[in-house]
Subunit: 473 residues, 2 copies
């Protein structure tokens, strides 16, 4: 990839709008714009205008003598810009036709159309941010909830980087001591106090362990927490979803799920995204097609973090209890939650409900599942209890206290590898293995940690990261 030419792209969303932004970065940004821009104030010269200033004028195709549009340019100068290079942003009228005309004109005058993420890649190459921060830029743009925005923003501001930097620095001191020993190996000295080192390794292991474990939460925050809804349509699924929406003034959207034909309801509740996955029923059957439906239901249950079993207060007790038992069998209670929601509670009095659901049979089931809640989706009764249960799966404290949370699968993999290596270091220290083996394991830890922040990277890794960015960023 060429990284020193001048690139341009439309940076705002496609479509017709009041304003669109076209971005140019590179050493020739000013020369190229000077060729196609005429300041309204004829005394002004683009190249002599101060950095971080705005200038009004006309985009002109000097060759065909056409005025294309009246625009405002934002002028940034290297190294004090997003990419670290000269940047000009053209704010034009937001007709797609005009946006394309200006981009074509820029290309005709020597710019190249930017690849996805190429602006951010330049920021990384020019040392304006490390790799994990660059990745956070994409996460921030993709964020759909307060928690995902918050975690991405924190990472972009260097959250995980600073944590890893500290760990890495400690390890570097560690390895320099061990390697010093190797230089003096014939003299059998120990520059690195093994007890101190053991403490350090334990500390690093604890850090890595916490980061690796945070990925479950991080992944849920980033992609939404999958909630499988099991139950018959007449149990009031859509009313319940609508009620959750209204109660939370939540944003709802229908997104195409990872499977080709699944459409999910996505609801933000207190800043956390939940992906509600509808499933077929659960009753046992001999019918072949029905069986297929049931298999699909169980597949979806397997992928969910929360299973919401929805029953109707009109259902007879044995039917409800059987459903709970049946679903419980399919659930991994270590990693999954089963919430039983009995809807239409408005059809019974409070006393009758209390009496009905405090029988020994229900009490026994209650101990198995996370909660049995009676609600009236229609009259918004006890919805707050359901929301509480849903939010219990998310460690909101961790988010609110700005703890570093890993959301990126690449980071998770590197951290897991680093953890494995640090455990080998720990074992090595216990077994008093020789310094060169120790050094090798430490080097591995350093490698994995360095790959997250990009101190160690390959073109392939960079290519994979930036190809998923949007154009213009």
């Amino acid at each position: 990839m060429i990284t020193n030419d001048t690139i341009c792209a439309i940076s705002t969303a496609p479509g017709s709008a009041a304003i669109a932004l076209i971005r140019i970065t590179g050493s020739k940004a000013y020369d190229i714009c000077n060729n196609i821009f005429l300041p309204a104030n004829k005394k002004k010269e683009l190249q002599k205008e101060p950095a971080n200033s705005l200038i009004f004028g006309t985009i002109k195709d000097k060759e065909s003598k056409r005025d294309i549009d009246e625009v405002i340019l934002s002028l940034f100068r290297a190294p004090h810009s997003f990419t670290g290079e000269d940047i000009i942003e053209i704010a034009c009228h937001g007709a797609p036709f005009i946006q394309n005309e200006i981009v074509n004109l820029l290309i005709k005058n020597g710019a190249r159309l930017a690849q996805p993420g190429e602006f951010t890649q330049r920021a990384f190459i020019n040392g304006k941010m490390d790799l994990s921060q660059a990745e956070a830029v994409a996460d921030l743009i993709a964020s759909q909830s307060e928690s995902s925005r918050k975690v991405a923003f924190q990472q972009m501001k260097g959250g995980i980087s600073s944590e890893l930097l500290t760990l890495r620095e400690k390890l570097l001191w560690f390895i320099s001591m061990v390697e010093l020993e190797l230089d003096f190996s014939e003299e059998d000295v120990e520059f690195a106090d093994r007890n101190e080192l053991q403490n350090l390794v334990a500390e690093i292991k604890e850090h890595l362990d916490r980061l690796v474990n945070s990925f479950t939460l991080g992944n849920a925050i980033k992609h939404g927490i999958p909630v499988a809804i099991v139950g018959h349509t007449n149990a009031g699924k859509s009313t319940l979803l609508n009620t959750l929406l209204n109660e939370e003034k939540a944003i709802v959207s229908e997104i195409h799920g990872t499977t080709r034909d699944a459409i999910e309801d996505v609801i933000n509740i207190e800043g956390v995204t939940f992906r509600f996955i509808d499933t077929a029923g659960i009753r046992e059957t001999t019918d072949k097609i029905e069986n297929l439906g049931i298999k699909l239901t169980y597949d979806k249950i397997k992928k969910a973090q929360i299973v919401l079993l929805l029953a109707d207060v009109n259902d007879p007790d044995n039917k409800i209890q059987e459903a709970i038992s049946q679903v419980s069998e399919k659930i991994d209670f270590k990693n999954q939650q089963l919430i039983v929601v009995i809807n239409k509670s408005d059809l019974l009095t409070k006393e009758k409900i209390e009496k009905r659901f405090s029988t020994p049979a229900y009490k026994e089931l209650k101990e198995k599942v996370s909660a049995i809640i009676t609600v009236s989706a229609k009259y918004h009764n006890n919805i707050n209890l359901l929301i509480e249960e849903l939010l219990k799966t998310v460690n909101l404290n961790a988010i609110n206290q700005n703890e570093v949370i890993v959301t990126n699968a690449r980071h998770y993999e590197a951290l897991s590898n680093a953890l494995e290596s640090i455990i080998r270091v720990e074992e090595g220290l216990e077994n008093e293995i020789s310094g060169d083996f120790l050094a090798q394991d430490i080097r591995e830890v350093l490698h994995y940690l360095g790959s997250i922040t990009g101190q160690i990277s390959t073109d392939e890794i960079l290519g994979n990261i930036f190809k998923n960015f949007c154009i213009g960023k």
Copy 2:
């Protein structure tokens, strides 16, 4: 409508993107932004920064102590801004979630969500542009071809305004003379030389006439030239459309037409938009459903400016000739063009084609229609001739020579009314009617001309104009 509060809106297209722009205008723009913005350079103060400068920092909800996003603000100050008021533009990361958070924060701090077109309306109210220029802003944003962009841009730069201003000034001098006469009516003096006035009125009439007549072209440029394609599917309609596309490297898009279920192919050819409307066949039939299809075809022919009758060189001559005659009957040759395209010419030699289509029967038909062209859509033969014929309907010279072209139906109506009134003035002068009647007709002309530029306007007119703008402009 309140016009002195501070308003805000997202000005870029909806959806996820690298960057989004949020715009705030009004006297409190700086106070409100100061409440939610923390400059990265702590020494800087938003309110003391120079106009037309950029400032980097963080959007912060000071109440909940949340950092929302890192942004760049563009600072404009009254009266040197688009609206003539203080304006701040916030360039944030383009996640819809973040855009909404920032807008909500602005509203919480005292801004109001802008109505469609409210920014431009303020520019009009504050005298930054006249009404026809404001309308051109919306046209520019909606422009889909070079010709529509060009005409809108010219109007935004004051094309029609300056033409009308000149006419209006001449008329104002005229009426002041006539009214002076009325003051001295008992003395029977003539301050306004009737011959000179007659020349002036003739000149104005000619101007108005030209402007009114330009609307046919203007309307075609703005909305695209409707081309009804008549002919059977196997005559190669889609190959022909694709060939036109490739030949012209034209932009194609499918838009929903004005009728609910009609989808049109829109192709830009040499900067002019053509809307190709597919129709059913044309042969006479007794079948009821077929008859309905034929009625629809004739309805579409009526609305088209060009009718393109597509035949297959394999069709027998009598079938082709009959089709031409049949369609000709339905065409108003004064306002419509019939182009006969005989496709698949590659199936015959050039000599055979020449011989076949120079029979007396074809010669007679050729005189009736605009052109009979044999083409091969597949092998791109003679497509240039077809393009020539299509472009004949458009007066490209008028566009290229920057003549003022009326594209706006409201302007057309006002100009037509002004033309009617000026004709009455002309007749009045011929019939030597009294000064007060003359003055009344002149006042009407002044009224209609003033309504175009907005010197005369009502809240209702303004409401109708700006409600069709996009939000954020």
